[in-house]
């Protein structure tokens, strides 16, 4: 009986259409609001994807790192490094770990034919290349044999290669590190990732290209001569099993140091979660700002609807005279507001989506669109329509028809 929803929507659309200019002005706030929701959501998605990509570049989410806990002031003076034997013990206690790589870093001066370059050299095991997913692409990486023989070999990053050798092939050449001569057996693959931050090198991974790698045994036995290894990295079977392995490692290491947190055990998975959590704060703020701008748009719409109803007082009186019920008037104006905001929402989505590439170029983060954003933006704009249409619709439906008909 009486007016159907479909009918109300049609009436809503024809009302919108017969007042095109005003309708467009009315929905500007909603257009801008939904547009910014789309951009913000795409930005969030872009940032998340970028964070994930960055984590992947650094060896993926199944990586677990153990290093000295700088926050612990170590009153008992417990050993804040590992010995080779300790590491062998730890390795044997976590057979489920896929890869295991202790590493020790040393700041050194590389010299070749009168040229010098200061940088870090890392003592590592062959698992390094699997854990970091980073291998030599010229020559080869350190092998088990190199480790067992403590061979005097080195694998260098592209920047060291460029500084010392230029365009010359470095494989087989000997470079001097302190007083030792090491033979170059490989050059690491060049690492690059566009840095979107406001500061720093254009290549976010440039620091990696400045590293050199030697067998850990060579460093310990021949280099520093000290059996202390500052940190190690483990790779779990997959990201899901990483937190459990991290916990196990943590308890093993606590046992080795009288239960004191001398070391920090961190899983990339958890680190990623932490980063996502930190970002979420900003995302929530952005999102709230968009919602506020939509609410402002909604208030504007409510205001215009109230004025419209004032103007259409006579029309309301006429509709009631010919048999409209209160609910019909209520639905008509509510639906009309929702139609208006949904049209605004759709325009905002279109504008927002077409802006993504432009914004991407501007801030150097790739914005990523997704169907869920369209649904969210539409739902939010319809919700705003519902909220801002409610009061005007109630006022319209409560109108006294006789007064409305006498209204000039």
């Amino acid at each position: 009986m009486a007016i159907s929803l479909k009918e109300s929507i049609i009436v809503g659309f024809s009302d919108f259409w017969s007042r095109k200019v005003r309708s467009l002005v009315t929905i500007m706030g909603i257009v801008l609001g939904t547009m910014s929701i789309i951009v913000v959501l795409a930005l969030m998605k872009g940032i998340n994807a970028q964070t994930l990509a960055w984590m992947m570049e650094r060896g993926g989410l199944s990586k677990i790192s153990v290093y000295e806990n700088w926050n612990y002031d170590n009153p008992l003076n417990l050993r804040d490094y590992f010995t080779w034997r300790e590491l062998e013990l730890i390795r044997s206690l976590v057979p489920e770990a896929k890869y295991f790589n202790p590493q020790e870093r040393e700041w050194v001066k590389f010299a070749y034919e009168g040229k010098e370059y200061r940088s870090a050299v890392y003592g590592v095991l062959p698992d390094f290349k699997y854990i970091e997913e980073w291998d030599a692409d010229q020559g080869r990486f350190i092998s088990e044999f190199d480790v067992s023989q403590s061979n005097d070999v080195v694998v260098i990053g592209t920047e060291i290669k460029n500084e010392l050798f230029g365009s010359k092939d470095p494989i087989g050449e000997f470079i001097t590190v302190h007083i030792r001569r090491l033979q170059v057996i490989g050059v690491m693959k060049h690492r690059f990732m566009k840095n979107s931050g406001p500061v720093g090198n254009e290549n976010g991974l440039a620091y990696m290209n400045r590293r050199a790698f030697v067998p850990l045994s060579t460093m310990i036995h021949k280099g520093t001569g000290e059996d202390n290894i500052g940190s190690f990295v483990v790779k779990a079977q997959d990201a899901e099993s990483a937190p459990a392995l991290r916990e196990k490692l943590e308890s093993i290491i606590l046992n080795l140091r009288q239960g004191k947190p001398v070391f920090r055990v961190e899983s990339a998975q958890e680190e990623a979660e932490q980063m996502a959590k930190n970002q979420r704060t900003f995302q929530v703020i952005f999102f709230v700002i968009s919602i506020i701008s939509l609410l402002v748009g909604g208030i504007v719409i409510a205001n215009i609807m109230l004025a419209t109803i004032q103007e259409r007082t006579r029309e309301i009186g006429i509709r009631i005279t010919v048999g409209a019920r209160r609910i019909d008037i209520f639905i008509q104006f509510l639906v009309q507001t929702i139609v208006v905001t949904i049209i605004g929402g759709i325009l905002g989505i279109i504008v927002g989506l077409s802006l993504l590439d432009l914004v991407s170029k501007f801030i150097d983060i790739k914005l990523i669109a997704g169907p869920e954003m369209i649904i969210i933006a539409l739902a939010v704009s319809a919700g705003i329509g519902l909220l801002s249409g409610l009061i005007p619709a109630v006022i319209a439906s409560k109108m006294d028809p006789v007064k409305a008909l006498r209204y000039e």
Partner: protein, 236 residues
Amino acid sequence: MAELIKVKALKKEYKMGKITVPALNGVDITINEGEFVAIMGPSGSGKSTLMHILGCLDTPTAGFYSLENEEVSNMKKSKLAAIRNKQIGFVFQTFNLLPHMNVQKNVELPLMYGGYSKRKRSRMAKKVLSEVGLSERLKHKPSELSGGQRQRVAIARAIVNDPAIILADEPTGNLDTNSGNDILGIFSELHAQGHTIIIVTHDSYVAKRADKVINIVDGLIQEIEETQKTDATAGN
């Protein structure tokens, strides 16, 4: 003839701040089915107020009103809306058409609230518009029509649902004599078809053709004249 409208001791007061403005001061009227009733009286005497109450648009402050032996004050709002939709057709001095809608859509409006299908609406609207001689103007906006034509659209809208009662509040008040006479002709026609017609008018010629003339002054009925029928076809 069956009693269609019965009003007893009907009062309507408007509260304006502290003062109360009486518009109707105890009105008694009985109107039978098929009657042609003229309501006359000076400006401000309460004619429109009475029409609004009879049309279920307004509620009296006190008194009794029954429509087809049913007491109106007991009816729910949705019932009143249905009555306005199906039993009563309203025609105003100022036409009261929706300016954004074309002629046909204006006439379809009561049918929309009556829940008719689109096709049925269109058919019914076209039919009544042809009866009032506006078949050629279906897609025109009210602003593109003359006053007489606009009033004919308003009449078409009032009768499209074939209501028992047609209430017309000074329907010729905004028209010149010729178009006014056309409109009055349509009302005679409708009366001849069996509709009950209640018309507010200042025109004594119209009053002469009515079955009953109600004179109102200051919200009170001065006199009710039951006129001799001069028209043989009326009041069958």
